[in-house]
Symmetry: C2
Subunit: 339 residues, 2 copies
Amino acid sequence: MSADIVPISRKQSPAPSLDPMLALTAPGMNAVNAVILDRMQSEIPLIPALAGHLISGGGKRLRPMLTLAGAELVGYQGSRHYKLAASVEFIHTATLLHDDVVDGSEMRRGKTAANIIFGNPATVLVGDFLFSRSFELMTEDGSLRVLKILSGASAIIAEGEVDQLTAQRKIGTSEERYLQIIRAKTAALFAAASRIAAVVAECDDDQERALDEYGRNLGVAFQLVDDAIDYDSDAAAMGKDRGDDFREGKMTLPVILAYARGSEEERSFWRDAISGIKSSDADLDHACSLIARHGAVEDTRARARHFADRAIDALSIFPDGKARQAMTEAARFAVARGY
Amino acid sequence: MSADIVPISRKQSPAPSLDPMLALTAPGMNAVNAVILDRMQSEIPLIPALAGHLISGGGKRLRPMLTLAGAELVGYQGSRHYKLAASVEFIHTATLLHDDVVDGSEMRRGKTAANIIFGNPATVLVGDFLFSRSFELMTEDGSLRVLKILSGASAIIAEGEVDQLTAQRKIGTSEERYLQIIRAKTAALFAAASRIAAVVAECDDDQERALDEYGRNLGVAFQLVDDAIDYDSDAAAMGKDRGDDFREGKMTLPVILAYARGSEEERSFWRDAISGIKSSDADLDHACSLIARHGAVEDTRARARHFADRAIDALSIFPDGKARQAMTEAARFAVARGY
């Protein structure tokens, strides 16, 4: 789409916002943040320095927010979820630190990435520290069901990351394979973060499954839009270097769609781009124009809308109210953000 | 010491051997190895390929052996310790993979290191996978006490590794600081591996503490000798590149002692070597000769003997028998190996 055409969808209704979710979880997030700050401490000063660089670096803390929102949804009255939500954020932070090393990222959340400032060795090891801390927190909570859910999710995340690495620079990656990767590397932790709210509240199996499905579908939608934004010339700066996926030869859905729909000449360009032969800024501009020509950003968002709708419908077994509305709007926001 | 003088200690008695320990734990180690092979599998083929390169690469599996020997010592009759011993080995393997990335190692256990063959990204991520798997195994076992001990040990290992990174290339590192680092990065897992045998066997606190102390002191002795061997021109090839510590500017005890005892000229050499200015093969030869001149390898072994003696004495509350004898000889072996 060109810059002077305003898509209809932007006019339909007020843009969905994360604000109701933020308002719903604000008091709880103060408690979670206190746990995070307390438990990232260590007598080795480099650890809180490096962890704090990322943790205080303006992440949305969406995953712990899911645990808190889920707890509100099911009317949980206790306080166990604060520690567990912090544990989820530690797992996420550990993966981000390791991702930055794996991808050689230079930017994260609009700031210089930790690996650039502190070096790869410290970044790997502080990731390990946070990962261990997350299991300490879970163990303190003492629920083996929660430990099973989160240790299982952690293994699946790592598998998804390795799978993504295997698919990197492979032009033949299918949409199905791509979905499999993002279900593992992103959606598994969203699902676990939501699900554990039902576990601490001792909900029945249907409710636990519903929260899992909400988180899982939301995670897929979220990652799809993340990947769309990386090629969306209209998107606001999202804190990561635009074009990172392109330069790393990652087969994300916008590329998969543009390649599938492209002419032979376009496909030849994509083969060179994904294999790393064409990686200049001009090549990135050309890639964005091909993606725009085939509506691949819009269609990636449409795919995301499908998963967001499934997330919203998974909540239908819960009574309507502030929590369900906030979680519904968060799913809509996941699709609309970056406009 | 020069090559034509045979030290008296070599003649005193038959060299201590790991054989009794190997014999004691052989049947159990078959069960542990089966768990390891089964649980390093994944649908992502790169994961077992990379993990298997290290896991089947001829490590001694000393840590899981400690769990099994401890279980024999206290007369444990069950089979829970097989899964937990595998979990300990997964934690260890994950740290080795991450260490190789952190240190840029080229060799590990006499083979090309995984990071050289598979690259740093996959090596980091497969480490994360094994780490997650280790917590899955512990969760399946279901003991929160074991989870607390092993998640705590994992956090301490990561802290020790970061601390070592902080001390790297710092000539002023003291013996006390060095001991603090190796207690964390090495001895914490030795202690946990031994201790959990007492937990599954539901031993009393004194027995649990005794096994913890045995493992902890053995771990310190083991690391001291590892660090001595890296500068011992008489030592057999140990599978790691001789001189790795030197080139990485690690302040290990042989260097700390040689620097403390050195002339002003020698100290000047050490400052240049540890800061990385002098790192050639000739510099390494000179370093080894200075370390030999001040008896720093022998004295590092003497320090190790102190900790091995403490490990052996920690076992005194247990009845004499095959298990205690094997564990006693293993501690003597830890000091003598590499001769």
